[in-house]
Symmetry: C2
Subunit: 247 residues, 2 copies
């Protein structure tokens, strides 16, 4: 029962989000950077596609009524597609149109003023699924070309909705020199990310925040509770009453 003193960043996605708490993962790096400013809430669900994710989203994102009593999600990332893009017929498969439809619906739930989940203070970043390296992963269900196509469609959706997209696929592929071999340092098993891969993701997220939501850059957010130098009073330390800073 943490009282409502810090707002939050919510990371919503599949296993690549769920693993973000590893050392060097994007959740860990964000939590470290935003300590005393925003809590990081990891809502990664390994193996899930955007279809199952959308159903869960309606349970994990607070309704307008609940929002009045809960910390505000100031930043929300949707990072789906890695499982949607498995080959047609596999149980996790969701075709591109339905994938886009699901992300569109999730965005609308937050941004539409008539939605029961309407949250005007929540900023959204869409993220494309990372590249796949089948040479690292004997995986007949996935292909890098198919995964890329989901990201291309997501970028288009982001333009239409005027929601920023951080193109993870391109950011990592560029660093890999667009070569299969070049992907190895960034992918642990051809699908999931290494710390080096997550570093690209973290840097890209911070750049996306800076470009689109500069008010959410750590330097532009007040630390919750004053620094100890402000609290301390040599004359009578026991009398000090730390106050909550407005954030």
């Amino acid at each position: 029962m943490a009282a409502n003193v810090l707002d939050s960043i919510m990371l919503f996605g599949d296993s690549i989000t769920e693993h973000g708490w590893m050392p060097g993962g994007h959740a860990q790096l964000l939590a470290d950077r935003y300590v005393r400013k925003l809590d990081v809430i990891n809502r990664g669900l390994g193996g899930y596609n955007s279809e199952w994710g959308l159903t869960v989203f309606k349970q994990i994102f607070a309704t307008k009524d609940e929002q009045t009593r809960l910390p505000t999600v100031r930043l929300l990332t949707f990072w789906w597609g890695a499982n949607d893009a498995v080959v047609e017929g596999a149980v996790q498969h969701v075709d591109i149109l339905h994938y886009i439809d699901n992300i569109h619906m999730a965005v609308s739930l937050v941004k539409s003023s008539t939605s029961p989940y309407y949250s005007p203070k929540t900023r959204i970043i869409l993220m494309t699924p990372p590249p796949v390296n089948v040479a690292q992963r004997p995986d007949e269900e996935r292909s890098n070309e198919r995964t890329k196509a989901y990201g291309v469609a997501l970028r288009q959706l982001g333009e239409e909705l005027e929601v920023p997209v951080f193109d993870v696929w391109t950011a990592i592929s560029d660093r890999a020199g667009d070569k299969e071999d070049g992907l190895v340092p960034f992918l642990s098993d051809g699908l999931h990310l290494t710390a080096e891969g997550y570093k690209i993701v973290f840097d890209g997220l911070m750049s996306t925040i800076e470009a689109n939501f500069p008010e959410l850059m750590p330097d532009n957010l007040a630390s919750v509770y004053p620094s100890w130098e402000e609290v301390g009073d040599e004359a009578n330390p026991r009398a000090i009453k730390p106050r909550r800073l407005d954030i």
Copy 2:
């Protein structure tokens, strides 16, 4: 506005808690281990002593009334003393009796049925401040012997209150072979911890949980939302409604 789907672990303390989000820090390791089971809330306040901490605690821990609408803090760590133990006269100094009094009060706020913060589902672990290596830290305000004394007093308080104490001072000192030189791998600046130091803390916390609150071991907590294999239904994946698991 994350809806109330996961309970939490709250880490409350000074800078040594605040830095726990670093790669290999105890917050990061706990968040990774408890993903989809309990959220980790870092309430570390660099430079604070237990006196200022106690005042803040009344703001960050939910009252009984607030608790009905917020995730439950299932585990709460109090890790104070590193700043209290600075030399008398320094602004952060809190003498041992007042330090113990503050921790006692914080525990009572949570455990006493007449307290406005009473939370019968919250388990508490007290932690002693880590050893100090003045050879690494030209710090005339701190001494390892004084810090040790705060930990000894805390262990006694824990026995009296029947609240488990994880003795960080002893765990790290033992690993250092009780030699000043031996502390270097575990302390980054003679006061704060390296990842190697935090690993001792994480392991000790898990052992303390296992010995005292086995119901809070990760294997004994259900994952929130079923695994994707349970959600997936080859016949009609779009019809699946993931359900929340009771936790």
